[in-house]
Point group: C2
Chain length 338, copies 2
DNA sequence: ACGGTAGTGGTTACCGCTAACACGATCCGG
DNA sequence: CCGGATCGTGTTAGCGGTAACCACTACCGT
């Protein structure tokens, strides 16, 4: 089409030449249109289109020490639960002209530290971290950088800065209470590995708290820790029934475990809740479509993303200051499986 | 701890002062350690740790006109199919010290253009686009930028640059053939909206091609277009059975449609494939756990991500040049539902 | 008619880093 | 023992923008 060799980036200079103004005027026409005369603005806009100019934000950010990039660290991208939160973040950021960088920590604090270091290197304007446990070095780096941070894996007692989440403890407690109210007495509890993340630990504490409140003993035979995944749910079902705790209900507090277990019951022709009741922790669409539909918690996944982005932008754009904790609500969805 | 006010970024200068060398030497010690004497290198490394220096890649990229950021545009983040590809990309990039920026196009070419523009503004080193239809302006911008691009939604006849995908056409054709081989003759076909993306169109062409090959007529009563989602699968099942085409099998060529339909059959107590056979298009774990397990295609989602990142890096790091099409294989997983 | 004052647009000096080159020291073969 | 390669480090000049400041031109009320 045109004679420019590919890769020959168009600079503001080129726009300035075509519009017959200085580069500073081009800069202003693009960032503060109201500060240049309508006539010049039109000339600049025309020139921008003519030469196909795309402003270099690396240069812009370096010069103004203002960035429009947000860094997000999630344990895993390949998980629909986080996907929903990411979508929420992304939606809000785009509306405000910000960009999103993503890294996954693989559930490890060292990998998280590496991701944070990389993001700080890119001089992100803010961070959103799903995990709430960080290496001391990571914390130090963030402090040094002085940028706002949102943690959103769980409500945490020692926030780095801002927190947007729901209480994993309260949610697990609420569901356990719900089962107790339905007269289940031997409630099994399955989590993801406790060592790996605070969320699982919070959930287990909530489960224990509800039992204690009801004056029931904590029976180790009723409690299990398994890796994520459908197959693990099946395995958990088997192991729990074999352990001798004789559960009348099982509360699967992680990922897709409940789905695996529920489907396995279908496969074996077991009545649910006749043989054993099943409750889940996630608001995965699917749970409502199983036979029977599975009781679960509605968690504000998408809203966590939205609100996280919002509070971050509020800080970045100077509309707010200081720590902040947003406690989003969850809700029990009672269905046929209990 | 230390007296620095937060936000007072540590610059290379500061490291240089502490290590008693020039900034250039610090730069070298970090990027080309072998070009610096071991003694000086150690002093620099010590100083970096001491002052908590995190290199500013904005400045670095600006100066060297080399970026380590890759931009990815997917139709939607909130979809486990893309999530798996994203994870693949992310894994490879991290290993090579590159960063990932993500935007979603919401299945629209204009939104894609906006995302591409934003990424070019960040001077990304390369782009990965899931969609294969783009606005002319988007194409022009990419050409002008002269950066490598990978498209990975489907094998496309007119690639922008590189393509890493499988053939949606061939995959749909293979599954239709598979059903024909199993003696199904009235095969229903459900897709996502054809207007929205080329992938759906390719799949439908594949379905039609298999029918034609078998000498069977194309019956419009057997073909349906629905939005994504579990509920849509249920709806499709109903509408297809009501349409009078009398299907003996239904091939759901999109998202989680098949799951919705299969669960609905379970709910109604219909034998599958007795009442109607069901085939799906995605390798979602779950399909194998349903009752009966659902026949489907294994698609190289994760590998698409991995390979996309790899070919992109090959180009960026000068190990390869020129257009390239990588045709990844799919596989039929025959299970109880057919 | 004058200083005051918006309102516009240009000039200069960086932002933090790196390419390219310059320079002195050491090393080498002939 | 000298000329040229080699090594290690410093100097200079930007990369492409923007902040801060300055200069110029209306236009104002008194």
């Amino acid at each position: 089409m045109d004679g420019d060799p590919p890769g020959a980036a168009v600079r503001m200079r080129d726009v300035a030449r075509v519009a017959e103004v200085s580069t500073m005027t081009v800069s202003r026409a693009l960032k503060h249109p109201e500060r240049v005369s309508p006539e010049v603005r039109a000339r600049v806009e025309q020139a921008v289109r003519e030469v196909g100019y795309v402003p270099n934000r690396l240069a812009g950010s370096l010069s103004s020490s203002r960035s429009n990039v947000i860094g997000l660290v999630v344990p895993s991208i390949d998980n629909s639960l986080f996907a929903s939160t990411i979508q929420g973040i992304s939606d809000v950021l785009r509306r405000h002209g910000h960009e999103l960088m993503i890294a996954s920590s693989g559930y490890g604090a060292e990998a998280e530290e590496a991701a944070i270091r990389a993001f700080l290197g890119q001089r992100v304007a803010g961070l959103i971290l799903h995990d709430t446990t960080h290496t001391p070095e990571a914390v130090a780096m963030i402090r040094r950088a002085g940028i706002p941070v949102v943690e959103n894996g769980t409500l945490t007692r020692q926030p780095l800065d801002m927190v947007v989440s729901y209480s994993n403890h309260d949610a697990a407690m609420a569901m356990t209470r719900h089962l107790l109210r339905l007269r289940y007495r031997r409630i099994g509890f399955v989590t993801l590995p406790l060592a790996a993340n605070g969320r699982s630990r919070d959930r287990r504490r909530g489960y224990a708290a509800a039992l204690e409140e009801a004056g029931l003993p904590f029976d180790p035979r009723l409690v299990l820790e398994v890796p994520p995944g459908l197959a693990a749910g099946v395995e958990a079902l088997d192991r729990l029934l074999a352990a001798g705790g004789d559960p009348d209900a099982i509360f699967f507090a992680g990922d897709v475990l409940a789905i695996g277990a529920a489907l396995e019951c279908t496969r074996r022709g077991w009545p649910v809740p006749g043989r054993v009741a099943i409750a889940a922790f996630d608001n995965i669409d699917l749970l409502g479509h199983l036979v029977p539909p599975v009781t679960t918690l509605r968690l504000p996944r998408h809203e966590i993303g939205r609100r996280s982005a919002e509070v971050l932008l509020d800080r970045i754009e100077g509309r707010a200051a200081g720590p902040l904790t947003v406690d989003l609500r969850f809700e029990i969805i009672h269905r046929g499986s209990t």
